[in-house]
Every structure is written in structure tokens, then in C-alpha cells.
């Protein structure tokens, strides 16, 4: 083959660059399309619901008249359910992830468990709802309560927390573990002083992503029988007469944001669509601010952890 002339080399480069630019344009288009859809959705909800963005909307209970209906019981319900979800899912998920990474022997049993954790993450949320209806609501007798809903969503996000915990732990270099063991530490001391603190940014991120997923879940909550029309608040957490009264709130009936939205969209009166749009925007804002908190915490905690 003859060596290429300068002209030929330039032609080859030009062809390559053209493809470069074509791909770049395609990438930007795809990205813009995806972002635009989200922005359009949020903007649409904001515009449609704009007339409901008043303090009353946040402080009113559901009502038969659209203009007076508010989301007080829904956002309070969502927050309380999230509290139960976090309290149940975080210790369980972190402990399970820690065990699998730091303690479990690598054998066929742990392999089966690992595969099935990924499978759990793929189980449709309605199935969790059915399971919870049978176990929490009837078998354990928790009823259609904040506790049942919180535990159901905890099951749902458990795989997310386990997986993110394991990934965070795996990112810790082996030399840190060896350095700790070499001075005579036990496995638990190594976990307590090193593994858990250093994995914390990753774990927190997983927790918040899991909670952001849970706060938008509707199907399993409907399955266990959340109310759609509720005009009172559960007792404030941990304020009742101790000891039993402290937990009155977990047995209270409740509703959550997505159910309130679903309820409003299924009303014949078009005025309720405005409520639904406004509530949808609020829910969106809740999710996005949770993600923002996750990003901030990760950034802040990672600053001090380097090897």
C-alpha cells in the first residue's frame, strides 16, 4: 500500500470528524428530549395548579369543593409513612449489606441470596402490596395503618438500600480493612470504626433514592387500603402518653400524596384537576428536594474521606 498523501490524510480526518459531530448532535438531541419532557411535565403541573398554591392548600383537609380541598392529611401522611419506612428499612438494609460484604462466606448459599436480592428489586410493587395486605394488615393485625404502609414500602426499597450499601462498602480499599485488622481489631471493630463511617455517604445516597422511590408509590398503598378521603391528622409522633401512647400515630389511618392525586384525577368535576396538578407539583418538589439533599450530603461527607 502506498503511503497516504497529505490530502488523503486530511480527507480521512474530515470524515472521522464528521461522524464525531453527528454523534455529538444525536447525543445532545436525546438528552434535550428527555430533559424537555420532564421540564414540560413539571411546568405543566405548575401552570395548571398555580391558582392552588396558597397556604390554605397545604393546611386544608380534603373537601367536596375543589377550591377548599387541600393536601394537609396527604403530605403529613406521606412524611409519617416515610419515617416508618426509613426506620424499618435503613437498619435492616445496612445490616444485610454489611453482613453480605464483610461476614458472609462466599458459597452457593450467599450466591443464591445475592441473585435474589436483585430479583426482589424487580418485583412489581403491587405484589408487595398483596403480600403486605396478607401479612401486615391481617396476619399481624396492624390494620390499614401508617405502620402497615411504612413496612410495605420498607420491603419495597430494601433491595435498593442493600445494593447501595454493598457498593459503598466495596469501594473501600482492601488496604484500609487490612490496616485495621493488622493492629488486632475484630471484624466488628473494623466495621464500626471504618467500614460503616466510610460507606456512609454511599449508604445515605441509596437511602434517599429509595425513599424518593417510596414516596411516589401508589399501588401497594392502595392495596393495603389507605383511605382516599380523610379529614383528620394522626396524633403527632412520640407525643402520646408513654409508653404505649408514644406509638399511637403508627396505627392511625392515613392517606398519602399519590393517593390524594389519584383520587382527584378520578373525580368528574374538572375543578379537581387543578388540585391534582398542584399536588403533583408538590410531590415532584418533595422528590427533587430529597435528591438535592442526597447530593449535598454525599458531597459534604466525601470531602473528608480519601485514601
Amino acid at each position: 500500500m502506498q503511503p497516504l498523501t497529505t490530502e488523503q490524510i486530511r480527507a480521512v480526518i474530515a470524515r472521522g470528524k464528521l461522524r464525531d459531530n453527528l454523534f455529538k448532535a444525536l447525543g445532545i438531541f436525546c438528552l434535550a428530549f428527555a430533559l424537555l419532557v420532564i421540564v414540560a411535565l413539571i411546568a405543566d403541573m405548575a401552570i395548571k395548579g398555580s391558582e392552588r398554591f396558597t397556604l390554605d392548600f397545604f393546611m386544608n383537609f380534603a373537601s367536596r369543593r375543589a377550591t377548599q380541598a387541600g393536601i394537609l392529611s396527604a403530605w403529613v401522611g406521606s412524611l409519617l409513612v416515610m419515617l416508618v419506612t426509613a426506620l424499618a428499612a435503613v437498619p435492616l438494609g445496612v445490616a444485610a449489606g454489611l453482613y453480605l460484604e464483610e461476614y458472609a462466606k462466599r458459597n452457593w448459599l450467599t450466591h443464591i441470596i445475592e441473585v435474589n436480592i436483585s430479583n426482589l428489586a424487580a418485583v412489581p410493587s403491587i405484589v408487595y402490596g398483596l403480600l403486605a395486605l396478607g401479612i401486615f394488615v391481617y396476619q399481624f393485625g396492624f390494620g390499614q395503618s401508617i405502620l402497615s404502609a411504612g413496612l410495605t414500602l420498607a420491603l419495597l426499597i430494601l433491595p435498593i438500600i442493600i445494593v447501595s450499601t454493598r457498593e459503598a462498602i466495596r469501594a473501600i480499599p482492601a488496604m484500609i480493612r487490612e490496616g485495621s485488622m493488622a493492629v488486632g481489631a475484630t471484624r466488628w471493630q473494623t466495621c464500626r470504626y471504618h467500614i460503616i463511617p466510610y460507606a456512609m455517604p454511599g449508604i445515605l445516597t441509596g437511602v434517599i433514592i429509595g425513599l424518593a422511590r417510596a414516596i411516589g408509590e401508589t399501588a401497594p398503598i392502595i392495596t393495603i387500603g389507605a383511605l382516599t378521603f380523610i379529614a383528620f391528622l394522626p396524633p403527632a409522633p412520640f407525643t402520646g402518653e408513654p409508653p404505649a401512647g408514644l406509638f399511637d400515630w403508627v396505627f392511625a389511618p392515613f392517606t398519602v400524596m399519590p393517593i390524594q392525586i389519584f383520587n382527584w384525577t378520578s373525580r368528574p368535576d374538572p375543578a379537581f384537576e387543578v388540585n391534582a396538578a398542584a399536588a403533583g407539583f408538590v410531590l415532584m418538589a418533595m422528590v427533587l428536594s430529597m435528591n438535592a439533599v442526597a447530593i449535598y450530603l454525599r458531597y459534604k461527607m466525601r470531602k473528608n474521606i480519601k485514601w
Binding site: K105, R106, P173, M175, I176, R177, E178, G179, S180, M181, A182, V183, G184, A185, T186, Q189, Y193, H194, Y198, N304, I305, K306, W307
Partner: protein, 259 residues
């Protein structure tokens, strides 16, 4: 090697074999470690010197599939460090280790050194302060860090980090200190500081050091062992090994014809 002018033993490998799963990494090693002396392990990459070193604090127990045969006797109590009934944690409490790459914890300088003491249940502030200072002085880094003990350790330079890791190991008064190529990640100035430190440390602790660097072995050690393909080919006083090696392969390696 005459028996009567040998110093007292700190440890002794007896018929030591080691397996990574099926692969035999150490072959029938017999070797004395003399008390308050520096013993260097040299040999080409993959010869098993790090594997051998990591047997002394049972580091291999952290990973599945590893197996020891034979004994490492530890004196004066004549414990077999490798015996299944001897807890590896007990072994690591008596045998300290400094790694190839400095591995300070992402915590404060103080907490890095205090860690070994905390693990032993020591939480008295005065005791911790004292021991941390002593360890940092012992590792020749006290003057550099005494005013910033609360700063994050990973912000130190590489050489300082390695001396901090030495301080971490010293804080718990180990009887034997293992160094796994402690200067391979450091520049010549930091290396010189570590070598000087090793020389200083042998007054209080027995040292076993793996090194790739012949000059380093010659400079810091009293005894040298030459390993090749999992076997201990030669062991003796450092002067003798470097001046008049008995084994042709040792000579080739030392003079740079191989390795």
C-alpha cells in the same frame, strides 16, 4: 553459622508451607528471627517474600482458601502463631505491620495512632495522649505533626503517612514489626528517613522487612534471607550474604544478573 554467638530467638519458622488454594506459595521454610535484630527478606517478584511476611500476623486468614502447614514458633512463650487454636487477633496484637503503600485511615492524625489502643479498650484521654505522643516520637514524626494532631491524616505527604503508619503500629508496643516494602511508594528522601527509623527501632522491637532494594537490605538489616520461587535459598548475616553468598542464584540476584 555458629550456634553460640547467635542472639536469642524471637521467632522461628519450622517446615513452613503455605497454599493459596491449590497453589503452593511457600515450600518448607526454616528460618530463625533473632530478637531485636533486623532481618531482611529479598528475592525476585513472586518469590513469596510478602506471602511469608504476612504469615507472621495471620493476614492470610482474612481471605478464604488459604492454608498453612508447619509452625512459626514465637518466643519467649513458644507459641505456634499458626496453630488453629491461636486466635489470629491475638497474633496481630503482638505482631505489628507496616504496608507497602501508606494506608492511614481517613481520620485525624491522633485517631490513626490511638486506634490500636482503642481497639484494646483504652479510652482514658491521658493515657491515649501519652501513648500517641510516644508512638509519634518513636516514628520520628512528632515534631512535624504535634501542632496539628486533629488534621486529617491523608493530607500528610507520602513519607509522613508511612511514618504515621509506623507510629500506629508502634503505639501498641508490638514484639515483632513486619515491614512489607515500606519505601516502594516513597521518594529517596522519605526512604532515607524510614531506613534511619528502622535502624533506630531495632533497639525496642524485632523487625522483619521485605524489600526489593538490595542497597536497602544491605543498609538496614543484620540478617538477610534470600527467597526464590517459594523457597528459602540462603539465610545468614547480611555482611556474609552480600560479600560471599554461598548459593550461585543468590549471587546472581545480588549482583544484578537476575531479578
Amino acid at each position: 553459622m555458629q550456634i553460640h554467638d547467635n542472639p536469642p530467638l524471637k521467632a522461628e519458622a519450622r517446615n513452613l508451607n503455605f497454599y493459596y488454594g491449590e497453589a503452593k506459595a511457600l515450600k518448607n521454610i526454616n528460618m530463625p528471627i533473632y530478637d531485636k535484630k533486623v532481618t531482611a527478606l529479598i528475592g525476585p517478584s513472586g518469590c513469596g517474600k510478602s506471602t511469608y511476611l504476612r504469615s507472621f500476623n495471620r493476614m492470610h486468614d482474612l481471605y478464604p482458601g488459604n492454608r498453612y502447614e508447619g509452625e512459626i514458633r514465637f518466643f519467649p512463650d513458644n507459641t505456634n502463631l499458626l496453630a488453629p487454636e491461636v486466635d489470629p487477633i491475638e497474633v496481630r496484637m503482638r505482631v505489628g505491620m507496616v504496608f507497602q503503600k501508606p494506608n492511614p485511615f481517613p481520620k485525624s492524625i491522633f485517631e490513626n495512632v490511638a486506634y490500636g489502643l482503642r481497639v484494646r479498650g483504652e479510652n482514658n484521654k491521658r493515657v491515649l495522649d501519652d501513648k500517641v505522643e510516644n508512638a509519634l516520637r518513636g516514628a520520628a514524626i512528632w515534631e512535624e505533626v504535634k501542632d496539628r494532631l486533629q488534621e486529617q491524616a491523608p493530607n500528610l505527604s507520602g513519607g509522613q503517612q508511612q511514618r504515621l503508619c509506623i507510629a500506629r503500629a508502634l503505639a501498641t508496643d508490638p514484639e515483632l514489626l513486619l515491614f512489607d516494602e515500606p519505601t516502594s511508594a516513597l521518594d529517596p528522601i522519605a526512604t532515607a528517613a524510614i531506613e534511619e527509623l528502622v535502624h533506630e527501632l531495632k533497639k525496642r522491637v524485632t523487625i522483619l522487612i521485605v524489600t526489593h532494594n538490595m542497597q536497602q537490605a544491605a543498609r538496614v538489616s543484620d540478617y538477610t534471607a534470600y527467597m526464590f520461587l517459594g523457597e528459602m535459598l540462603e539465610f545468614g548475616k547480611t555482611d556474609e550474604i552480600f560479600i560471599k553468598p554461598k548459593d550461585k542464584r543468590t549471587e546472581d540476584y545480588i549482583t544484578g544478573r537476575m531479578g
